[in-house]
Amino acid sequence: MSQTSDAPKSFQEIILRLQTYWAAKGCAILQPYDMEVGAGTFHPATTLRSLGTQAWAAAYVQPSRRPTDGRYGENPNRLQHYYQYQVLIKPSPPDLQELYLGSLAAIGIDMGLHDIRFVEDDWESPTLGAWGLGWEVWCDGMEVSQFTYFQQVGGHDCHPVSGELTYGLERLAMYVLGVDHVMDMPFNDPSPRRGADGKEVSPIALSYGDVFKQTEEEYARWNFDTADTDVLLRQFNEAEAHCREILEAPQDDPKTGKRIIMVHPAYDQCIKASHMFNLLDARGVISVTERQAYIGRVRALAKLCADAFVQTEAGGWQPDSAA
C-alpha cells in the first residue's frame, strides 16, 4: 500500500474507522458476542436477526476462533483467534455495493489506484443450515471481504433478504498498513504525540504480536495437544441436550405470566456445541465420516433456534397473528 497522509496508522484505527463509517451509514454499532464463535456470522445479531420480517442494521467486531488454524503465532497470516468485522442490513439496500466500496475508501484504500473486483463466491454454512449468493471482494488480487445476500438461514427462506459483509480484519489491515507478518502489525499508533508541555512523547507502542503472540502459542498447544477430549465431548453432548430442553419449555412463563420463548439462551448452547465440535476437530479425534454427523447435529440445533426465533416478536411474530 502506498502511504498517504490519510492512511491509517494502526490496526485499531482501521477498526475505529469502520465503526465510524458504518455508524454514519445508520448501523447500530454492537459489541462482540460474549462467547467463543467460529465466525462473525454466529453472533445472534446476524444469525437470528437475519430471520423474520423486522428491519435490521448492525455492525460489530467479532473475535472468532478457528482452532485448526493455530500456528503458534509463527505463520504470517494464520491465527486461531482473529477478528472479523461484520455488517448486516435487512432488507439489503439497493446501494449496498457502493456503501461497501465507501468503507474501503474510509480505511484509506484509494479507489483510483487499486483494482477492486467482485468475484463469484457463494457462501454456505453447513453448521448453521445457511447459504447465500455473493462474491469475495478482491483488492489487487487479495480477498478483502465476503459479500453475501442471505437466501436461507437455519433452514428458513430469508424474507426480506439481508445483505451481509464480512471483513477479515487482520488480513485487510496488514494490506492497508503494508505489513508482511501479522505479529509485526502496529496495534496502536506508534508515532510520537505532543505532550501537554509541547514536547514529543513516545507512546507505548504495541504490536499485534505484543498482544497476541503468547496467547496464540498457548491456545495452539491446548487446541492441538492437551484439551481434554472427554470433557469436550461431554460438553458437546450436554450443550446439545440443554439446547433442546430450553426450547421444549412451555412458551408461557408461569412466574411473570408472559409469553417468553428462550431462543437466545438456547442458541448460546448451539454456539457452545459448535465450538466444542471445532475443538474436537482440532484434536483430531473426529473421523471423516463422524464429521458430517457432528455438523448435522449442530445444524439441527441451529434450525430449532431459527424455528423458535420466528415465533418471537424480534422474529416478526405478532400477538394477533397467533391464531
Binding site: S92, H114, E120, G141, Y149, C158, T289
Partner: protein, 750 residues
C-alpha cells in the same frame, strides 16, 4: 424497420455464467417475438460482468394481422352448443356465417386478429423472459421477490429507426425500462442515454466498457503475448482461464509481474495451478528453460501510476500463496524422502466408500490385482505391485490436500524424491489416465498395469455393491472407468480375458478375482437375518444391502466350504456377466465414434471370447472392412437367403439339416462349384481362425459370394427329388455354419 436494443444491468454476474446467459437472453426474447408474429433479420447477444445485452436488427414494426376461420356446430344445433361456440370465438350470432355442407347447414366463425405494435409484444416477452430466466443459481434481494443471478438494477429497452428512439414500456418489480445505462464502475460510473446499438457500444467504449467478451479476450491475449514476447518469454495458453478472465473485467488492462526467486524451484505445475486457481493469473514461461518465471494478471481499470500499485499488490498476494505452496512442498518432500510411510498409514483412516472400505484396503486390492496383471501386460510383478502401493500415497500429502487437481502429478515428484525407480514414479501420475475419450492412454507397462487394476477394482467394487450408473446419474464416474479399461486394453493391444466365463483353467481372471475379493470382503460385514434363508441373504448381498448380525462369519465359512459355494459363486457370476455387458455397451459407443456399426459389434459379441476386448475389436474391424466391399455386402444377402430357406425348411420338416451334404448328388455345375468353393474356404478359414487372423478368414468368406450367388441363380433348393432337396439344404447349412464360425452374421442388419 426498427432495431431493438435490450440491456439488463445488474451487480456482478459470475464469469462462468455470462456466455450462456447472453445466449439464453437471445433465445428467449427472439423466440417469444417470433411466436407472437414479430420476425427480425438478425440478433446478437453480449455480456460483461455487469450487463447482458441483446441487439435485434430489422424487427417488424408490428405483428401482421391474422384471420382464422373456425368451424362450429350445425345451424340447428341446440342453443347451448351454439352459445359455447360463440363464447370461444368471442363473437355474436349475427357475425357467424352459415354454409351448406354435405352434413347440412353449419356455422362458421371468422376471427380476425389485428396486428400488435412491436413495443407491446417486446414488453411482454421481455418481462416473461426476466421472470423465468434459467440461471443455474438465482437469488432474491432486498424486500422483493424477483429472482436474478445478483440484484438487477436497470433495464434498457429501446426500439429505434430513422424516425427516432422509443422506450419500450415495461416495469418489472419496480424497475422501469428506460434508455439509459452506466459506464465502468470506477472509471465512468455516470448514467447516460443511448439511441441505438451503435450509439450504445460507442458510448460504452468511451465510458471504459468493452461490450463484446470476444473482443476483451482477444485484447487480453494480444497484450499478454506481446508483453511476454518483449521480454523473450511466452504465455502458457489456457483458453478456459482466458474466457473466465474476460468475464471478470469490463476494461481489461494487462500487467506482467515477477515471481520471487525463492519460488522458482517449485514444480512448474504447482506454480501454474496456484496462480491460476487462487489468483486467475496466466503463467509466463521462459522458452529456453521451460521454467515459469513471470505471471500475467488482468486488471479492470487504468490508474494514474500505470498499474504499479495493482501489480505490487498482486505480487505480494502471490508471494504469500507461493510461500504456502513452498511450505507444503518442503514438508511433503521430507515425508517422501523418508519413504512415505506416514502417508500410507493415514490412508487407513480415509474412507473410500462406506461399503468398499478405506483407501488403504482399496490399495491392497489394487496391488494384488496389479501383481496378477503384470505378466499379461509385460511388466515386472514386483514393480507393478510396488507402484500400485505407492500410486495413491500423495493423496495424504499437504500439496494435494490444497490442490486436489495435482493428485498423481505430485505422486510422481514425491516418488522420484523417495528414490524409487522412474517407472514407479510415472505410474503414480499415469494410473488415473485415461480420464476421457481424448485423454492420452499410458503405454509404459507398469503404468498400464496399475491403471487397469485401479479401474477394474473400481468397476467390480461398485458392481458388487450394486451402485451402477443409471440414466444420467454416474456419481462414481464408472462409465469413464469402463472406457478407460477399453482404451487401455485396445490401445496397448493387450490380450486379456476379463471374466471367467470362457476362460480355460489356469489363466488369469481379473474380473472374477476382483469380484471374489469384493464379495468375500463384503460377507465379513454382512449378516443374514435367517441362517436358513440363504437365497434371500444372497439377494441382499447382491443388492449391496448391509444386514446387521455379527454372527455372519460362521455362515460365511460354511458357505465358502461346502454346499453353498455354488450359490455364492452365482452371485459373482451374475455380477461379472452384467459388468461385461456394461463394458460391451461402452465399447459400442467407443467404436461407433470410429465408424463401426453397432450390429457389427453385436455380431462379434455373440462369439466366444467376447471378454477379450482386443480379440473382439479385431474381429469387428475385419468384419466391418469386409462389409464395406461389394463382395462382403452381397455375401450377407446370400447368407441371409441361405439361412432363411434353411430355417423355413427345418421348421416345416421338423428336421435339422446340419451335415452330410455330398457333392455326388450335385446336379449342376454351379452346385459343384459351390462345393469346391466351400472346401477351399473351409481350408483357409479354419487355420486363419486358429491364428485369429480375421482379415484372412473374412476375405475367404467374401470369396464365396460369387459361387453362392451363381448357385441361387441356377438351382432350385426345394427340388422335387427328396434326396437332391435334402442335399441342397445340407449344403445351405454348410454355408451358414461356415459364415457364423467367423461372426454371428444373423445379427447384421440390412
Amino acid at each position: 424497420m426498427p432495431d431493438l436494443l435490450i440491456e439488463l444491468f445488474s451487480e456482478e454476474i459470475p464469469a462462468r455464467m455470462q456466455r450462456r446467459a447472453a445466449d439464453d437472453l437471445k433465445k428467449f426474447v427472439t423466440d417469444g417475438m417470433v411466436e407472437a408474429g414479430l420476425t427480425y433479420a438478425w440478433a446478437g447477444a453480449f455480456s460483461t460482468p455487469r450487463r447482458l445485452t441483446l441487439t435485434v436488427e430489422g424487427v417488424l414494426a408490428a405483428s401482421p394481422a391474422t384471420v382464422e376461420e373456425r368451424k362450429g356446430p350445425r345451424a340447428d344445433a341446440p342453443k347451448t352448443a351454439i352459445e359455447g361456440f360463440l363464447r370461444g370465438a368471442g363473437l355474436t350470432r349475427d357475425q357467424l356465417e352459415e354454409r351448406e355442407t354435405p352434413k347440412g347447414a353449419v356455422l362458421f366463425a371468422r376471427i380476425e386478429k389485428a396486428g400488435r405494435p412491436a413495443a407491446e409484444i417486446i414488453g411482454e416477452v421481455l418481462e416473461k423472459t426476466i421472470r423465468s430466466f434459467p440461471w443455474p443459481k438465482s437469488m432474491r434481494w432486498g424486500a422483493g421477490s424477483l429472482r436474478w443471478v445478483r440484484p438487477l438494477h436497470s433495464i434498457l429497452c429501446i426500439l429505434s429507426d430513422e424516425a427516432g428512439t422509443e422506450v419500450v414500456p415495461l416495469e418489472v418489480d419496480g424497475i422501469t425500462a428506460g434508455d439509459t445505462t452506466a459506464g465502468h464502475r470506477f472509471m465512468a460510473p455516470d448514467r447516460f442515454s443511448v439511441v441505438n446499438f451503435e450509439d450504445y457500444t460507442a458510448k460504452l467504449k468511451r465510458a471504459y466498457v468493452v461490450l463484446d467478451p470476444e473482443e476483451r479476450a482477444e485484447a487480453i491475449w494480444h497484450d499478454a503475448t506481446n508483453m511476454a514476447f518483449a521480454s523473450g518469454l511466452e504465455v502458457v495458453e489456457d483458453k478456459g482461464l482466458l474466457a473466465e478472465v474476460a468475464g471478470l473485467v469490463e476494461w481489461p488492462v494487462v500487467l506482467m509481474g515477477r515471481i520471487a526467486d525463492d519460488f522458482l524451484e517449485l514444480p512448474p505445475e504447482v506454480l501454474q495451478t496456484s496462480m491460476k486457481e487462487h489468483q486467475k493469473f496466466f503463467s509466463v514461461r521462459n522458452p529456453k528453460t521451460g521454467r515459469i518465471e513471470r505471471f500475467i494478471t488482468v486488471a479492470n481499470r487504468e490508474t494514474a501510476d500505470n498499474g504499479a500499485t495493482i501489480l505490487a499488490g498482486n505480487e505480494k498476494v502471490l508471494s504469500a500463496r507461493l510461500a504456502d505452496a513452498k511450505f507444503f512442498w518442503e514438508n511433503d518432500l521430507r515425508v517422501a524422502r523418508a519413504g512415505m510411510e506416514p502417508w500410507l498409514e493415514q490412508l487407513k483412516h480415509v474412507t473410500f466408500h462406506a461399503k468398499l472400505g478405506t483407501q488403504a484396503e482399496r490399495i491392497d486390492r489394487i496391488a494384488a490385482l496389479a501383481r496378477e496383471l503384470a505378466p499379461v501386460v509385460g511388466a515386472d510383478a514386483d514393480q507393478a505391485e510396488r507402484a500400485a502401493r505407492l500410486a495413491k500415497a500423495d493423496l495424504s500429502s499437504e500439496m494435494v490436500y490444497e490442490f486436489p487437481e495435482l493428485q498423481g502429478l505430485m505422486g510422481r515428484y514425491y516418488i522420484e524424491a523417495s528414490g524409487e525407480g522412474a517407472a514407479i514414479a510415472a505410474a503414480a501420475e499415469e494410473h488415473y489416465s485415461p480420464l476421457g475419450p481424448s485423454d492420452e492412454v499410458p503405454t509404459a507397462p507398469v503404468s498400464v498395469v496399475v491403471a487397469l487394476a485401479d479401474k477394474i477394482d473400481t468397476l467390480t467394487g461398485f458392481w458388487a455393491i450394486d451402485e451402477k450408473p443409471t440414466g444420467s446419474k454416474d456419481p462414481f464416474a464408472l462409465r469413464r472407468a469402463a472406457l478407460g479399461v477399453i482404451r487401455l486394453v485396445l490401445e496397448n493391444d493387450i490380450r486379456l480375458s476379463l471374466q471367467n466365463k470362457y476362460q480355460r483353467s489356469g489363466k488369469l481372471r481379473p474380473f472374477f478375482a476382483a469380484f471374489v475379493k469384493h464379495v468375500s470382503d463384503h460377507l465379513d460385514q454382512v449378516a443374514a437375518q435367517n441362517r436358513e434363508n440363504v437365497s434371500s441373504f444372497l439377494a441382499d448381498l447382491q443388492a449391496g444391502h448391509q444386514v446387521s448380525d455379527p454372527q455372519i462369519s460362521a455362515l460365511v465359512d460354511s458357505m465358502k466350504s461346502t454346499t453353498l459355494m455354488p450359490e455364492w459363486r452365482a452371485v459373482v457370476a451374475s455380477a461379472t456377466i452384467d459388468l461385461l455387458s456394461f463394458l460391451h455397451d461402452r465399447l459400442k459407443v467407443y467404436l461407433r465414434d470410429q465408424g463401426i456399426r453397432h450390429d457389427i459389434i453385436d455380431a462379434c459379441i455373440a462369439m466366444e471370447g467376447n471378454d477379450d476386448l482386443t480379440l473382439l475389436v479385431k474381429r469387428a474391424r475385419a468384419l466391418s472392412d469386409v462389409l464395406k466391399t461389394e463382395d462382403g455386402e452381397n455375401l450377407i444377402q446370400g447368407f441371409k437367403r441361405a439361412n432363411n430357406i434353411l430355417t423355413q425348411a427345418q421348421e416345416a420338416d421338423g428336421v435339422e439339416y446340419s451335415y452330410g451334404a455330398d457333392p455326388k448328388f450335385a446336379e449342376t455345375k454351379e452346385e459343384r462349384a459351390l462345393f469346391e468353393a466351400l472346401d477351399q474356404a473351409e481350408a483357409q478359414i479354419a487355420p486363419a481362425m486358429e491364428k485369429q487372423d480375421f482379415a484372412t478368414a473374412m476375405a475367404a468368406l467374401a470369396a464365396l459370394r460369387a459361387p453362392i450367388d451363381a448357385f441361387f441363380e441356377a438351382v432350385k433348393i426345394n427340388a422335387d427329388n427328396a434326396t437332391v432337396r435334402r442335399n441342397r439344404l445340407n449344403l445351405l447349412s454348410r454355408i451358414t455354419t461356415l459364415c457364423t464360425s467367423v461372426a454371428d452374421l444373423t445379427r447384421i442388419e440390412g
